[in-house]
Each structure stands twice: as structure tokens, then as C-alpha cells.
Symmetry: C2
Subunit: 338 residues, 2 copies
């Protein structure tokens, strides 16, 4: 059967407490002792029993991922990244999809947290962008790591993994400018999402950098969906100032824009360039494939989880911040301005 701490202790000729110390990387264990124990651990392929640890100790070995996001690709990527970190660190992951607008949300999460002794939470938008919510979690004595859009942390209540949408949007736009485009349409996502705001900011910055006058009529309010892309593109292409390129706030919008353009008999990229954002599987399933910005969600999530675990062990503090800048991926949906 499975080896227990007793087996290890006996074989190594030490007390179970010492084995425990080694397993938890505690100080004041002499190096030779540590090695002796580790050797036996390897030999017996010993792994501490999570239930026993949870029951006996005050520390927790679980983190949770709560989310409210209709984008399955995004959720799966995040989840896989967190799972990878958990696996490496011997943590357990609790998955908790929920409704960000539910009244009993706080009660629900509190219950889960208390019941399962959660060390911390990985938060994605919209949760990560609600300072009050983050504060409430901290008040419950739960560590939090947030994934948010921007280039500077909003506060130091909890650590952040920043996604520099601003810089990424800027480089996508620059790519279009470099191809000779001057009239660049912009189809936005939901205005409430910080990512939308940041991406628009990057787009505008690139225009300024290249001394291109901003044309407000080229900016369409939309949402992160295929339909919105279809609608936005039609609006742009039927407008006065017909653009030669369209910056879409994500890949789904871009797919919609692509579709609308095709319907209108506009060939891509010859007559119109279109860009996406996120580099989701979606962007490889359109035709032509989409030029986009690669947002390494899985890596981001793994980092977030690692940071969270470190925080729960007091190895890192709240002001810890990391930053990712999605990188331009040039595919077939962009070309020289006609």
C-alpha cells in the first residue's frame, strides 16, 4: 500500500516530525539528515497525504479558480495553466464557475473557502477588476492574485499579473501603419472591460506616434462577439470614411468582420486588412487566418498560481507584480494598403 510518514521515519531512522520538517522545507534540519530523509522519500515514492495535512495543520494546500466568463477557450487555458502550477507544487485546485452578478456570491464563496480551507484565489476579470471584491477576499484572510489589463498595478491590496494590452495594441496598430494603412477602423469590446479601454488607448497612441489624425467615426462601440464583428465591420465599410484596415478587439470580433467583408465582396487582405487579438484557436480557424496578438494565457495563469502559492507561504508580498505583453503574430489577414 501507500507509504506513510511512519514508514519513511522508520527507514530513515528519524522521528516522523523530522520527516515532516523535511517535507515542508522547514529550517533547522541538518543537511545530512535532510538528504537521508529525501533518499528514503524517493525510494518509497512517498507523498504526504493531503487529507491528513489539511486536517492536522493550519496551512492549506488548495487554491481555487473562480470565474465568470463565457469564453471557453480562455477558461480552459487559464485552468490548464493553474493546474500545471498546482501539480508541480502538490496543490489541489477547486474550480468554481459562478455568476459575478449573483447576490449571494460573497456568501457562496465564503462558504466554499471556509469549507475547503482555501489558501487563495486566482482572479480573472471581471472579479480581478473589482477592488471591493478583492478587498473582501483579503478580509476573509484569503490570498488573492489578480490577472488584470494594464501596465501599472491599480493598488497593492494584492499582487497582479499585468497584461499590457496597451503596448500590444500599439504594436498591432504599428504593424498596420507600417503596411501603409492610414484609415484604420477600431471595433471595441464591452466598454466595461479594462482590456477594451487599454487596447483603444494603445491604438490611439500608435496613431499619435505616426502623426495620423484620429477619426472618431472609425471607432465602433461593440462587444466581444462574432455578431458584433459582423455589425461593426458593416458599419465601417458602409461609412463615409471607409477604412483600409480594421483593428478588432479580439479574435471573435475579427472573425465576424472577416465574414462581413467577404459577404460584401471585399477580399482579404488585398482590399482590407483585419487584425484580431488573443491568438485563440479561433484565429486559426478563419480564412484567411488572423493576424493577432498572442496572449499566453496558460503561461500567465501558471505564473499567477505560482505567485499565489508563494504568497500563501509568505514568500512573496502583495506588491509583487509581473507583466506580460502580448506579441504580434502576423498571419494572412493583413497586407499592404491598396
Amino acid at each position: 500500500m501507500k507509504a506513510t510518514i511512519n514508514d519513511v521515519a522508520k527507514l530513515a531512522g528519524v522521528s516522523i516530525k523530522t520527516v515532516s520538517r523535511v517535507m515542508n522545507n522547514e529550517p533547522s534540519v541538518r543537511q545530512p539528515t535532510r538528504e537521508k530523509v529525501m533518499a528514503v522519500v524517493e525510494e518509497l515514492n512517498y507523498q504526504p497525504n493531503l487529507a491528513a495535512r489539511n486536517l492536522a495543520g493550519t496551512k492549506s494546500f488548495s487554491i481555487a479558480f473562480i470565474y465568470d466568463n463565457p469564453n471557453a477557450y480562455y477558461v480552459i487555458d487559464m485552468q490548464n495553466g493553474i493546474l500545471a502550477a498546482c501539480k508541480k507544487q502538490g496543490f489541489e485546485l477547486l474550480i468554481h464557475p459562478c455568476d459575478a452578478k449573483a447576490d449571494n456570491l460573497l456568501a457562496e464563496i465564503t462558504k466554499m473557502v471556509k469549507h475547503s480551507r482555501i489558501a487563495g484565489l486566482v482572479l480573472t476579470p471581471p472579479f480581478s477588476e473589482q477592488p471591493e471584491f478583492v478587498q473582501q477576499m483579503k478580509d476573509l484572510d484569503i490570498e488573492v492574485v489578480r490577472i488584470v489589463s494594464g501596465d501599472i498595478a491599480p493598488d497593492d491590496i494584492a499582487p497582479c499579473i499585468m497584461v499590457n494590452d496597451h503596448a500590444a495594441a500599439q504594436s498591432i496598430t504599428q504593424h498596420l501603419v507600417d503596411l501603409g494603412h492610414k484609415k484604420i477602423g477600431f471595433i471595441a469590446g464591452e466598454a466595461e472591460h479594462r482590456s477594451t479601454v487599454e487596447r483603444l488607448r494603445g491604438y490611439k497612441q500608435a496613431l499619435v506616434d505616426n502623426a495620423i489624425t484620429l477619426d472618431e467615426s472609425l471607432i465602433i462601440n461593440g462587444e466581444y462577439s462574432f455578431e458584433s464583428g459582423v455589425k461593426g465591420a458593416k458599419e465601417l465599410l458602409n461609412g463615409e470614411e471607409k477604412p483600409t484596415a480594421i483593428f478588432s478587439c479580439n479574435d471573435e470580433i475579427a472573425a465576424g468582420a472577416l465574414f462581413a467583408s467577404r459577404l460584401m465582396g471585399i477580399s482579404i487582405p488585398e482590399q482590407l486588412s483585419i487584425t484580431g487579438f488573443e491568438n485563440s484557436p479561433f484565429s486559426r480557424q478563419t480564412w484567411p487566418t488572423l493576424t493577432t496578438a498572442d496572449q499566453p494565457n496558460q503561461q500567465i495563469a501558471e505564473d499567477a498560481a505560482n505567485l499565489l502559492i508563494a504568497c500563501s507561504r509568505k514568500q512573496k508580498n502583495n506588491s509583487e507584480t509581473q507583466q506580460y505583453t502580448p506579441q504580434l503574430v502576423v498571419r494572412d489577414s493583413t497586407g499592404k494598403a491598396s
Copy 2:
């Protein structure tokens, strides 16, 4: 702080063992006693500590979902369904994405199962369709519930939730026939998937039922992807026997077929009808929206998890089987034959 079994026992004036019995729905507790205990449980909002249960008992309160599937929508649906069942039954869910072709797969799963004391597994294709794998799991003394395509269970090693792709494909095809179509193309998914086989079988059955001669040249081998849909549709539409309708083995293929048709200047559904399969979000993100078959994955998964939990409590046996037939959803991609 949180109430423990001791608090409940004291307040109810019984021993902790009796509380335990009530919590586990064991027999031989007198009704009045049971009620008395339950009242206190309610009052204190008592919930048994999972770690303690796992440590003390022989029973397990965790199930796992292992999968190898690139379709994020599918995975999320399944996961949500399983999660719903777990929540209701006080179980924990371990998520375990993995590579079905990895050599160390069995070792990996064995390790997880032993380490976390898993009661059972929810298996989806490809795992669910490998009898040897299922048998290996049972040999490890793990309950298994499989979600498989077909109308009769392949064996009684483990319970099955059957998805009657045959009947669903038949009714989609019948829908096309009813619209006057006689030359109906078929773009298949991977031949290794039972779902492909079953859907093809349903398609053929419908043709037979309507005395339409099967034209093998109208059947295209493909895979479950957008690109495959594009390719398959082109092949069909450039062929000798140009079909007036295309049955696609899933929504992604259908989206590809839709795209290809548009490119070729064929208007949908006026000149060509196209159907999908699965009713994934994908089918609502195309234009026109897809006629498809609704496969209630979340519900299926919830049922599977409930069945699994029942089995782990020996309340159900291995020959237990449930069946779902995906229902036709008529949208805008199908119309009268021209």
C-alpha cells in the same frame, strides 16, 4: 468558527457516531433521532469536514474528470455538468487533462487515484471508447461511468451514458429530405471516433427510409475541424454530383462548409443547405446560424456524475444505462431544395 460533529452531538444529545450515521444516511437510526440531529445540523449549518472524512473513512468523496479533447466548449460543458452534480452531493472534483497517447498515462492516473483516493472517473471519448482502458480502471478498483456514442451499451464492464448519434443524424437527414433534398453530401469527422460512425449510419438509414440511393461519392472523409469543412465542401461542390445539401459531422465542419460555399458565391440556404451537429456556441456564431442537433452535454455530464456517485455507493450497478438523443434544432442554414 465552523461547527464540528462534536458540537452537533452535544446539542442534539446523542453520540458523535449517531451524528455520523445520520450524515451518511446509514440505516438503523430511529426516525425521531434522525430528525433531532438534522434539526441541529440545520441550526449550526454543519457540514462534515472532507479532510477528516477522507482520512478516517474508507469511502471517498472525490471523483475525477480526465480528458483529452481539444474542443474547449465540450470540455467546459462537461466540466460544468459534473461540477453541478458534485456540488449537490458534497463531492469534490479533480480535473485532469492528459494525453491519451502518453506511455505513462496509466501510471499517471494510478498515482493520482491512489494519492487522492478517487471514487471514480467520468470518461469521455477517446477514453470511454477503449475497453482495455476501462477495464484497467476497474481493476484498480475505481468506478467508471462512460459517455459513449451509440444506442446499445458495448459491454457491462461499466455503466454508460449513451448518446444516440444514430437517431439524431437520422432526424437531421430526414429534415433535409423533408425540405426536398435528394443529393445530400456528408462530411465525416475522424473515422476512429464512434460518433462519426454512428452519424454516418444514421445518415444512411434516413436515405434508405426514403428510398434514396446512396451515392458514395457524396461522402467525404474528414476530421472535426473548420479547415476540414472548407476542404470537404469544396470537394463536394466541385464534384460531378453537386449536392443541394451538406450534412456536416459537427458544427465546426459546418462552419467551414459555410465559409467555402460563401467563397464560391453560393448563397445559403437558397442554393445550398448545410447542417451541423452538437449545437455548440459555434453554431450560433456563423452566418447564417446553423441548423444542428442539440447535444445537451452539460446535462449528460451531470447525469454521468450522479450515476458515478451512486455507483460508488453501490446504489447502482454496472449495467445501468441511460440514453440521450440529440434533438434537431432548425435555424437559418437549411431551406427548401432549389
